[in-house]
Symmetry: C2
Subunit: 433 residues, 2 copies
Amino acid sequence: MALVVEKYGGTSVGTLDRIDAVADRVARSRGAGDDIVVVVSAMAGETDRLLDLAHNIKLESGDGREEKVARSTATTGVAARELDVLLSTGEQVTIALLVLALHSKGIQAKSYTGAQVPIQTDSIYGKARILDIDPANVRTDLETGKVVVIAGFQGVDVDGNITTLGRGGTDTTAVAMAASLQADECRIYTDVEGVYTADPRIVPNARRLERITAEEMLELASLGAKVLQTRSVEFAGKYHVPLRVLSSFVDGPGTLITHEVGDMEQPLIAGIAYNGDEAKLTIRGVPDQPGVASRIFGPISKAHINVDMIIQNVGLDQTTDLTFTVKRDEYETARSILTQVAEDLGAHDVVGDNTLAKISIVGVGMRSHAGIASTMFEVLANEGINIELISTSEIKVSVGIADKYLELAVRSLHKEFNLDTTPLEDPLEPAES
Amino acid sequence: MALVVEKYGGTSVGTLDRIDAVADRVARSRGAGDDIVVVVSAMAGETDRLLDLAHNIKLESGDGREEKVARSTATTGVAARELDVLLSTGEQVTIALLVLALHSKGIQAKSYTGAQVPIQTDSIYGKARILDIDPANVRTDLETGKVVVIAGFQGVDVDGNITTLGRGGTDTTAVAMAASLQADECRIYTDVEGVYTADPRIVPNARRLERITAEEMLELASLGAKVLQTRSVEFAGKYHVPLRVLSSFVDGPGTLITHEVGDMEQPLIAGIAYNGDEAKLTIRGVPDQPGVASRIFGPISKAHINVDMIIQNVGLDQTTDLTFTVKRDEYETARSILTQVAEDLGAHDVVGDNTLAKISIVGVGMRSHAGIASTMFEVLANEGINIELISTSEIKVSVGIADKYLELAVRSLHKEFNLDTTPLEDPLEPAES
């Protein structure tokens, strides 16, 4: 008999019918003899509905200006505290409904808010971090045969204030509960059937991976393969929680995310990630002196523009060219900021391109295998695709290319690295017991 | 500087604009220098929306029958517990929104759920009773100048389970908080401007009472003048909390509900209450023997039919006639139950009338003044109105009459007892300071 934590996100519990379907799924897991802890999000749309209520409260600051409650900036103070009081009701509704549904199927169950567990957090409203979980009460309920249903995304600080972990925090709750209970597995139910070698919409031959290392998963996630919150994968790694991503709509084993590489046979490349909506900006002829980078990226950062890759080439004439990529919808803003910066710095000029795509190959196998980057470059060259940017890390090679070549590049790389044909099924049995 | 508890019900906080208006009103109270605790309900409609969600969860009992979660019967067990988890989110949303609105007006404020106060209750889900309140945290916030906003209707049991006090429990929360904090006044904001001598829709000359005793208020409330929950008035009396009923939409002093009669000048009659939708049933020729009443009222009670007045006349032939009143919409059910009972008991027959109205005059002055009942009967006789039932208590006389005479009767009594013309303004200043 295993102890399993199952997490269902907002889409999986988005309607009463879906909650009923989740109850059926949980009932099957329970029927198989496992102890089950379920962690749920607010029903899809509910968090936005609550935020709209808050935003539509007539807000006037002390000096008479109307202002919005900005979730992104408010992490302390009255508004931030009350937003968490408000938003935490979303999951509270779901836990009650799911327990009612389980109860109607003859499954003993009990709900817990974050505060009831308790899931102790710091006091950074909206972005709280879990400090400690006391699993004693949950464990007692499990021992009496109950399914325990826990509100994700929320906790309580040392003074009893309700906190939220920020959007996507339900994954974190699930992993943290699994760590705290030393669960055998934490299953993250999503709208995909697992982690794939590439996006199946682009590469019809893409395969679901039986398993992937957490490191690879993190690179894939941060590169746009948003199956899991980065934070929850890190958390799972830190506490050695076996994590499985699987579909809440289609039965299947999903993908197991492992943390110990050991001598396990690893495929060379785990998968290919891409973003089709990138843009790049280059500031040319910048006087090469200390503090230049911060004078360039300070104003960009202040405008809340996320910079991805940064590449600097030092020239021979005491000037430097600096290139970076941003999301395409921030290109124009970034460009106008950069143009002003260039003038202030006495740089030569600013050039840009908002038709960029980024492709990354990810695999821990790169550590022990040389030549993977050059294979990638060769594949692209053979297809006549020009590489505009290169950035590498220990288990990843990323390139920037013209977005019109994106699909061709992904398919060619997928084939060249044998992701189409290599039997990816791991010889080991899945950890599920 | 006074400490005031203000309670706003679902209608008063039913929209964002109304929450904003409540914030304005609280800001004015605070601006006058008082310490303010606000107790709020769920936004109008929200509790019903949440109940609908619960009811629409596919509920199948163990034996396969579909069943509804019945709020009225479930006070223990899983469904009852989870309904309270669900329903308590309603007020939690309101407290957050009200604090946000206050904050935007420059008023320092902080929200509390029932569990956060904590408001300790027993574990009778849906109908929990308050056992204890620790006001220390609230008092600390008040001392730092904050307005404290508390979720009404909810509490927490000794095991940390969320409970609700049942519908209307927000009044109870407000009074209990006022008692716990030894507040100078508990103000119940409603959709009426106070307690009137009669329903102004029927008696245009009806006047708002400056004050009324709790006893009179209880009789008027139980007779259909539903300004306040009976339980909260009892609670206020028990803990000597000065209670004031006033409008959340129109400024005005409202009506103060007092608890000590003392030697204060009391009007003879405080007011007239009525119900226009009564019905009466008489079972005639019942063998007069022990246990008959329970054999009659047992089945009626099992059908959840509320019986109001009961009158028994013992005849000379060892049989008795027994008459009672019910709400008109329960008349047919009650009649068919009674017909069966009559057969079982060997009673003579059952007769009924579903066109009854009930009028009551209420006043503590009756204790020291004889002849009030006979004045009432005389007024009705002068109008040619036949009295079908009489029931009296220490401070109340109720009569049943044909409903077509209801308005005439109320107006005549209102005039005869000088409620139209007596200056009802009490010579004492209102308790508000």
